[in-house]
């Protein structure tokens, strides 16, 4: 072993907040953006109206079937924050539906974990 040893840390309850040092490309205030996770699933509720700007139309075409915000960001080649701005508009116009992720809670959901284990075993 190299000799270097780590020292355990205790939970602090809250993470340091470096946000204010940075400005996201999306350019809007966080409050103007919908609370979207990387793995929120987005589904189009219908076709793009003829007046939709091209990036909205492209996004709506892509999520004819459910697609995560991360996948939209990758396929549209746009930063995550920019995609959340586009989606905020589309959600407000009721052109897309958002399916919220299951996030970790204090007590993990055993049924969910069992489903994931079962799914992984099929790989």
């Amino acid at each position: 072993m190299t000799g270097a040893r780590r020292e355990r840390r205790a939970p602090t309850g809250s993470a340091a907040n470096p946000e204010r040092l940075y400005v996201l490309t999306g350019g809007t205030e966080a409050a103007e953006r919908a609370a979207l996770d990387l793995v929120t699933l987005i589904v189009a509720r219908g076709e793009a109206p003829p007046t939709a700007p091209p990036e909205q139309a492209a996004l709506l075409r892509m999520c004819a079937t459910p697609l995560s915000v991360a996948e939209l960001s990758a396929y549209l080649n746009l930063p995550f924050s920019v995609v959340t701005v586009l989606l905020t508009e589309l959600l407000a116009a009721r052109l897309v539906e958002a399916r919220a992720p299951v996030v970790r809670s204090a007590l993990p959901d055993r049924t969910l974990l069992e489903a994931v284990m079962h799914g992984l075993q099929q790989l």
Partner: protein, 204 residues
């Protein structure tokens, strides 16, 4: 950007489309130093070709340093590879491979906060690069397992020795893996799920 060109914005290939029944997703983060095998692990278990999401941010410079009185700004782009595993017709698991620099984690809302847990990928030739990341996860209360990626020529230490060097409690799983192999990467994820399951059943 040309949003009308169909080649660049084709969206998912036919085989990469999720069923309409997909109702919710969960995520796991694979974190580790540069070149430790994060992208390899994501790719070996993912059902889709790994994709990349990016975030660009501008860091406001300190002080006034040009003729117009505006601060200098430095743009930084941080990229993250990810993959996907369909668990059922309703549930989807996403895997994100993220560099260990904690100062960028906030870019993706709740990357760690919302994740079921994390895999810390380590290389025994430079174990120290994972010290800080492990500490950050401990501070944030994110449950994790440690996967030791087996590179040729890397020293292979017994788990007990690694546990001592990483100062990890007995219950945190440490396992050897080969990130290039699907079965091995899947076993790492299974070990994380079993660990999370044990947390929910352990008497508090």
């Amino acid at each position: 950007m040309d949003f009308n060109s169909s080649d660049t914005l084709a969206g998912p290939r036919r085989e990469d489309v999720l069923p309409a029944t997909a109702a919710s997703a969960v995520k796991v983060v694979i974190v580790g130093g540069f070149g430790v095998g994060k992208t390899t692990m994501v790719g070996s278990v993912s059902e889709i070709r790994p994709l990349t999401t990016e975030e660009t941010m501008t860091q406001a410079g300190i002080g006034i340093d040009d003729d117009y009185g505006s601060a200098t700004k430095t743009a930084t782009t941080v990229a993250m590879d990810f993959g996907r595993i369909s668990i059922t017709e309703q549930l989807v698991l996403y895997l994100f491979g993220t560099p260990g620099q904690e100062r960028f984690w906030f870019l993706w809302n709740g990357l760690f906060e919302g994740a079921l847990g994390a895999v810390v990928l380590v290389d025994t030739r430079r174990l120290e690069v994972s010290f800080d990341v492990i500490g950050r996860l401990e501070e944030r209360g994110v449950p994790f397992v440690v996967a030791v990626n087996s590179f040729p020529g890397a020293p292979r230490y017994p788990v007990a020795e690694l546990r001592a060097a990483l100062d990890l409690p007995e219950e945190i799983p440490i396992l050897h893996c080969d990130a290039r192999r699907r079965a091995s990467s899947r076993d790492v994820l299974l070990s994380l799920m079993r660990f999370l399951h044990s947390l929910s059943t352990a008497p508090s």
